[in-house]
Symmetry: C2
Subunit: 322 residues, 2 copies
């Protein structure tokens, strides 16, 4: 027993000397700034020291931790789901958005705008219990494949960001997802994909309703929006779920602007990260005019605000996991 503890202690002490915590990041300024921030807030002798309970890090999901092109993966799920629903009941196709979804016509669906997307996602995500919904998403993830890479969607994860999450947790941070995507949807894969448990997933949601008729108690997903976790909604949701202001936040679009602003306007050392999609060869290149993950204000103001732009092409040695 004593031997075991001693070797564990030796491993702890020597780890920082031996291992690069971010092996898939190139040795650029970006990597150096991340490590220097983490060192500053974790060193008890640093003026920027933060106790572990306050080391809160929040990350957007789509385009920050996993891919989002050619369209949000949750929308692809919703479209597949609406097509299956229409097989049973054609009367649900009562709008241009629902018709486009059932036909799998993503361009026509995107053309119906945000309202159309919300309509399709709401239809595909309601009328069942939370546990039925999660089982269905899990089954979909098992078989659906990304149109460009052929990978399962839950393997479209950015390897450098997986390393960053792990590095932060190793340094005493709590890592949260704060996503515009659906909270129940993300919870299906967040634990296996990111090692982030359900209670550390914050997202958009439909209203829930507790029902006891029929087969025992269950929580039904209702066809009305409860909360949109985007833009100004992100700081509000962070307060609601976490109750503390993050000291580090990462995003990739202007939907994350307020989360980064909220994070960096607190006292003490703060770090805001923006994943800038600059890599048309290994992933995608898009920012200002993208129909998904548009990034304009963040690009314009990052430097003046001291926010760190991650240049995917230059800063990442690899994009996808092995």
């Amino acid at each position: 027993m004593r031997l075991l503890l001693s070797s564990a202690a030796i491993a702890c002490l020597s780890l920082p000397l031996l291992a690069d915590p971010l092996p898939s990041w190139n040795a650029t300024d970006t990597k150096a700034r991340i490590i220097s921030f983490v060192d500053a807030v974790t060193d008890p002798d640093s003026p920027d020291y933060v106790r572990p309970a306050d080391r809160i890090a929040t990350f957007d999901n789509d385009g920050t931790l996993w891919g989002e092109q050619p369209v949000y993966f949750q929308v692809i799920y919703a479209v597949d789901q609406v097509a299956r629903m229409a097989e049973a009941d054609l009367s649900i196709l009562d709008s241009d958005a629902m018709k486009a979804a059932a036909a799998g016509d993503m361009a026509a669906l995107v053309a119906t705008g945000k309202e159309g997307l919300v309509e399709v996602v709401t239809a595909a995500h309601s009328g069942m219990s939370v546990s039925e919904f999660k089982a269905d998403v899990a089954a979909w993830l098992d078989t659906a494949r990304h149109p460009d890479t052929g990978r399962p969607y839950d393997e479209m994860l950015y390897q450098p960001m997986l390393e960053l999450l792990r590095y932060l947790r190793d340094e005493g941070f709590s890592t949260y997802i704060v996503s515009g995507g659906g909270i129940d949807f993300i919870r299906v894969f967040s634990e296996a994909a990111y090692n982030i448990p359900p209670n550390q997933v914050v997202g958009s949601s439909l209203a829930g309703e507790y029902k006891t008729d029929g087969d025992g108690p269950r929580i039904m997903k209702m066809p009305s929006l409860f909360f949109i976790d985007d833009k100004e909604g992100k700081p509000v949701a962070i307060n609601h779920h976490i109750g503390k202001r993050p000291i580090l936040a990462g995003g990739n679009s202007d939907g994350d602007f307020q989360m980064l602003e909220w994070t960096t306007s607190g006292d003490g050392a703060r770090l805001a990260l923006i994943v800038h999609h600059t890599d048309a060869e290994r992933e995608y290149a898009y920012d200002r005019d993208s129909h998904i993950g548009g990034l304009e204000r963040g690009l314009d103001e990052a430097e003046a605000r001291g926010w760190l732009l991650i240049d995917m092409a230059a800063d990442w040695a690899r994009v996808w996991p092995e």
Copy 2:
């Protein structure tokens, strides 16, 4: 270093043999059932074993972890706050409920019903930022005293429940508060009082709004209800914040019925606890007809459902902390 680790290891190994984890509980069936449940779900060789990540325990707050008589402490705060607000602006006293609050007439306020209470609490809890609100509650807790005991409100905690929370955490549980009370209010004292961090506090809430005009970004508390975490709302909020079904839940009133039902209708070993206020001498005795913390259906159905009624007078060796 090696010596330190060794003595820590010795302390860990011998603790379960030496210490009673619930010293303020009498040696009744109630205590035996709690310990036998915890043993069953934590013993890897037990058929009821639950991995630590799924050891979720949720507790009501008012009347379960701290007192709630003669009226919810948060209502006493709200009444004090409305009286202070009225000093600055008498025009806010535009209803019977607001007038009763400003006059400190609790009986008249209670007579205005739930609507009156919600009106007063909403008025007292909105129009400021979350951090201003929390600072104000903290200052109030420093000076306000309970009318019957003369104690600070955040010392009106039930010592046996503090021991239970600690025991559960020592056994790998995550402990959550799931309260009808306000989430921002409870978070002011939950960490110091219960060792429960803000992200493990679930409660009722007003709408939040992110504002950047004026003195930097802040989250404003708006005068509209966002969520009532009571009755059917408790399982819905548990799903929203935690994303897993608890295996243990504790409450004291019919406002907790659905949380206990949801908890105990899951698979495997489950435990539901109801703190029954039977102790007029050391605390209060109330259940069916109480204006606060009414308990009727829970009393009627506890035995048939296998829920454990905690008889405060018989099961607790002491009520308050030293």
